[in-house]
Every structure is written in C-alpha cells, then in structure tokens.
C-alpha cells in the first residue's frame, strides 16, 4: 500500500514537472537583470551580447535589412516622432545603441513595446546588433526635433552647464567611449520621459551617478534644462535636409 501511495505521489510530482517542461520552451523570457538600486548593481557591467557586438565587424547591408523592423516605429530616417513616442536614433553613438539594444533584450531595461522587435528570432544574434547599430550610424539627424516651450532657456542653460555637461558634453554631444548618449537634437518629450524614469528608478539600467545628480531638480528645472538641450543644434555635418526620405526604404 505504502508503495502505491509513494508511486502516486511521485507520479503527481512527475506530472507537475513534465507539465512545467511542456509549458516552458521558446516563449520563456530571460531572467530579468539587476536593477539600479539593487545590491551589487553595476552600471554598464558589460559582458554578454553587448561585448560580443562591440567586437564584431559590422555588415551595413544586413544592418539595413535589420533596420526595416525598427523603421516601423523609429521611421526609415531614424528620426523618431517629434511627440517623443519614439526617440530619434539617427546621430546616436554606436556604443549607446549597442548597449541599449542589448539591455532591452536582456531585460535590463524595460521596454514592453519594443521588446518583441529586439529579440534574436526577429533580428538575429550579436552580429545583427553590430550591423544595425552601424547602419543607424549612417543616418543623418532630424533637422526639426520636438522641443519644449522655449520660455526658460537661460535657466536651462545654467543648469545644463552645472549639472549635465560633465558627462553629456558642453553641447550635449555625449561620449561614445563612455556610453553617454547624445542629447542635442533629441525630441524634448522623449528626454522628459526618460529623465523622469531615471529620476524615479523606473529606468532600470540607469547610471546611479545621474540619479543622484538630478534628485533635487524641480519641475521647472527639468523642463528648462531639457528644453535647452533639445534645442542645441548638432554639428552641421550630422544633420539631414528638411523632409529627407531614406532612399533605402522606398
């Protein structure tokens, strides 16, 4: 009798286990990475696909093909939407694109809308990351990015110089080597959203130094500084002509 009971118990466990295996498989997401604020969180810890992609020789032709998926939202020109729903990718540093894309698909940065399109079965492995980042690097920037109301720019300029320029550069150019993004010419509403998420800890792959740096800023400060930086004109050789359409997607 005991044996029967034990067999039934094992059977139950086994069925449960088999059941789990049947439910698992390709639909499973990777385990979520550490978030800023977690113990042992390290900003830009590197490793994984980020490092792999950085060391691969990009293929621009494949980059164009991969970018077709991105173009549905970020537009064929990489200009994003001026209302900030989708950021401008054109002009962004190669290492920033690689890191953010690798972070989104490794679930180190939450982006439910973009997540499926960042997956390997949609675009490919680390080589695809290298390729699409290189392709994005060929795109010229939107000459008419979204901006704020322009009413508090002097205040914004001072705030920027004192708080942001050290990392993001004196005109918001960022720093490719350090993975700091270009801010100049980015859509204002996108900057506001990301800034807010970084401040609140919702942007999980944020740099803790920046979180500290901006904690004390008021709503007025935020609007002023982001309006200021979104209006800085990137170098002329990085900007595309008004109304340009990307011939690669015609």
């Amino acid at each position: 009798m005991k044996t029967i009971i034990r067999a039934a118990a094992v059977a139950f466990v086994a069925t449960a286990a088999f059941g789990t295996i049947a439910l698992a498989g390709p639909r499973d997401k990777p385990a979520q990475g550490k978030s800023v604020g977690d113990k042992d969180y390290q900003w830009n810890a590197g490793g994984g696909e980020q490092d792999e992609a950085l060391h691969l020789k990009p293929d621009l032709k494949n980059g164009r093909d991969v970018y077709e998926v991105c173009a549905a939202c970020h537009l064929p020109e990489g200009w994003g939407l001026t209302d900030g729903t989708f950021p401008q990718l054109a002009g962004q540093h190669n290492k920033v694109i690689i890191k953010q894309l690798a972070d989104i698909r490794a679930l180190n940065r939450d982006n439910p809308t973009m997540y499926p399109f960042a997956l390997p079965d949609q675009i490919g492995g680390p080589q695809a990351i290298a390729d699409v980042a290189a392709y994005i690097g060929t795109l010229k920037m939107n000459p008419e990015p979204g901006m704020g109301d322009g009413k508090d720019l002097e205040h914004g300029k001072k705030l920027y110089k004192d708080n942001c320029a050290r990392c993001h550069g004196d005109h918001g150019q960022g720093d490719n080597a350090k993975y700091y993004p270009r801010l100049e010419g980015q859509h204002y509403n996108y900057l506001v959203r990301q800034y807010q998420w970084i401040k609140e800890g919702k942007r999980r792959n944020a740099n803790p130094d920046m979180i500290k740096q901006i904690q004390w800023m008021t709503e007025r400060d935020t609007k002023a500084v982001l309006d200021y930086v979104s209006r800085i004109k990137p170098p002329a050789d990085k900007i595309g002509p008004k109304g340009w359409k990307n011939p690669d997607f015609e």
Binding site: A7, A11, A14, T15, C73, T85, P112, T113, P116
Partner: protein
C-alpha cells in the same frame, strides 16, 4: 527479475505522466461545452451571443490562456470580464484553461467580407501592424492576440479600454504607450477594417 523498489514508482510515474498529458488536450472541446463557454461564444466559438463579445476560434493559444488566467485572477477586469466571465472561470482550473486554449487555437477563424474603408491605412501607419502583423493575423509574439476577423464592437471596446487604462493586464503595457497616436475617431475605422479581414 529484480526491480529496485525505488525505481518502480518512477516507472509508474513516467507512464502516468505520459498518459495524463494527451487526455487533457483532447478535453478542450468537451470543456468548452461543459463549462458553459458555448452559451456566450457560440458552439463554433465564432458566433457570439451578443454584440461586443469576442470570437475565440483560431485565437493564439498562449494569448487565450493568459486572458483566462488574468480574468480569473482579476488582473483583467474591463467590460463584462469581471462580472460575467470571472464567476465562470472561477470553476476552471489552469490545466483546463490550457486545454481550452489549445482547442480554440485549432478551430478555423471566421473570414470577413473583405477590405473596408480608411482603416487599413491607419492600421499600417499607427504602428498596429508592427505587433499584430499583416491583416491582424500574424502577431509578433505568442502572447499577442490575432485580431483579424474579430468582432467589431469588441475591438472598439478593447482599443478604448487599453487607451484609457481600464484594461491593463499582461501585454497591454506594450500597446498602451502607443495608443495616444490613435484618436477616438480613428479607432472606429481600424476596427471596421480588422473585423472585415478576409
């Protein structure tokens, strides 16, 4: 022959496990009747009792399963789900939901009457197509619904509820951030187009 008494229960277990799984999947059709689903969604899962109820035939199994789970847990509570459907799902276990979802996915979806109005262009340009695929029939993830051929009033309600936040379960967090791109007036032609997909 000597059989180690520790191994024997494992062998029995393996047999039971193999026997249990297929029996469950085949139950989907029976469950669809027994649990009362047919009353509202129709025997073919394509003939809803009333305007605004979804067609279920041909739906992605993973999506259908998630919705049943979320309605039962209360994570999805928009429209009639909380008052009408939750009490029914309270009597349905997760393995039964899985069997129902697998069964529904095998049923043929209802083909619509053909292209309709301005909706298709909106569907293509408001980013809907990126996730739900051509004609709303090729979702990019298994957890996303097929929406081509869906009941029009149901589509209208879901778009509005996801936009307003009344529905916020599961993967709607991927859709909500783009819904401000679609105005109230544009929701109707999009629903019209999708409901009529051939």
């Amino acid at each position: 022959m000597f059989v180690n008494p520790l191994i024997r229960p494992l062998a029995v277990a393996a047999l039971l496990a193999v026997a249990a799984a297929p029996a469950l999947a085949a139950d989907g059709k029976q469950l669809f009747t027994d649990k009362g689903c047919v009353a509202c969604h129709g025997e073919d899962a394509n003939t809803p009792l009333d305007v605004g109820y979804p067609r279920l035939a041909g739906q992605n199994a993973e999506y259908a399963f998630t919705q049943m789970k979320d309605i039962k847990s209360g994570a999805r509570a928009n429209g009639l789900t909380a008052e009408t459907m939750k009490p029914i799902l309270d009597e349905v276990s997760e393995p039964e939901m899985r069997a129902l979802a697998d069964y529904l996915a095998t049923l043929p979806r209802l083909a619509g009457t053909g292209p309709a109005g301005a909706g298709k262009k909106l569907y293509m340009t408001k980013t809907c197509v990126a996730c739900h695929g051509k004609d709303g029939l090729k979702p990019v993830l298994k957890t996303y619904p097929a929406i081509g051929g869906q009941e029009k009033a149901y589509l209208l309600t879901q778009m509005k509820d996801i936009k307003s936040g009344a529905r916020k379960n599961g993967a709607t967090n991927a859709m909500q951030p783009v819904m401000h791109l679609v105005t109230e007036a544009e929701i109707e032609p999009i629903a019209e187009f999708l409901a009529n997909v051939k």
